[in-house]
Symmetry: none
């Protein structure tokens, strides 16, 4: 019978379906994007890893970019953590922001997926601009409003992003030993004041 | 006959030269670095793979780090810029390091290749560990020695790397607008003090 909405004939699920096939595909996709980046990942390899037909991957998730969107929807929504980071006094937010970021990334159920997302986002121009749009709208805009008013609020928020992105990339993606091995408390002590200065300190010549 | 540009006497190529020796060496080096990582790769093994003398490898490409830069197709060897960054007083190195990094990345002949390399390095686990080996041995080790002695020199060097990586990724790869649009002078003023604190300031609880 033709589907009344899409006009396509429903033919039932392709081979390999089942109650947990969807989550197996998501898990395999996170692994694949993490290992090969967005460009290098293939639906065929993801289907093989998940033990299903490629048609089932398309059936559940559509295109590769749809699947990628589903994968980055799996980890918690970073925008939901803004209250924890920005709720208190701005004068003490530096260490709080670093501590919250580390709490997210030290979580063993988040970390591998977070790394996969970051590899794909940075490795591919299209997903990078997709993610920059999301982060700008959902995070930096709120951070900037919390800093502002003032013409350099956007730049301060971007400077915060530069150190947070650099911390996450070097500690969790590149795993630079001296940083990967530091305790969360040591990282908070070292990086917190940087974030604090970007939020409320002197950051350059007045324009 | 002396080379009129370099003033060095041309002595002819060592054994094994020829029109395609250079590309054979590059090909062998790419294989060797890919298989054994930066630390494990040797000029001797690369020469053997390419069927040439080790002297010819040095003749064409210089040091191992120069050869690595050639393999990843980056027009300059970052290790060659260490003297500019670390040559003066450590107490004023923060802004100098940021300024040097920006001079490299603002160069229109470097930037697109630098972005391509960074994308592939971060996007792929294997090339990431290769690059971490290179950066650790050729850059961070020297930076750490310049900071040291002291047990936290390696961590200070890694913190510097975290902010530099984050700056380059957000400004040149992700092109976060508020940072991509800032002038180099503004970036130096904002980020220089961060680097300075990581080099010589208070970076956390004493261990």
């Amino acid at each position: 019978m033709p589907d009344t909405i899409t006009g396509r004939r429903r033919r039932g699920r392709p081979r390999g379906g089942g109650s947990d096939a969807r989550s197996r595909i998501l898990h395999a996709a996170a692994q694949e994007f993490g290992e090969f980046g967005y460009d290098g990942a293939t639906i065929r390899s993801i289907a093989a890893k998940a033990g299903v037909d490629t048609a089932l991957v398309h059936h559940y998730f559509g295109t590769k970019s749809d699947l990628f969107a589903a994968v980055i929807d799996v980890p918690l929504n970073p925008a939901a953590l803004l209250p924890a980071m920005l709720g208190g006094e701005l004068d003490t937010a530096g260490e709080r922001i670093v501590r919250t970021v580390l709490e997210i990334w030290e979580n063993p159920s988040f970390r591998p997926r977070g790394v996969a997302v970051l590899r794909s986002v940075i490795g591919n121009r299209r997903s990078a601009s997709l993610m920059v749009g999301f982060v700008s709208r959902e995070i930096l805009k709120h951070l900037s409003e919390r800093i502002g008013p003032g013409r350099d609020a956007d730049r301060r928020a971007a400077l915060v992003a530069s150190q947070i992105v650099g911390l996450v990339v070097t500690r969790y993606v590149l795993e630079l030993p001296a940083l990967a091995e530091a305790s969360p408390a040591e990282v908070v002590s070292a990086v917190g004041p940087t974030i604090q200065r970007y939020l409320t300190g002197e950051v350059g010549p007045a324009e």
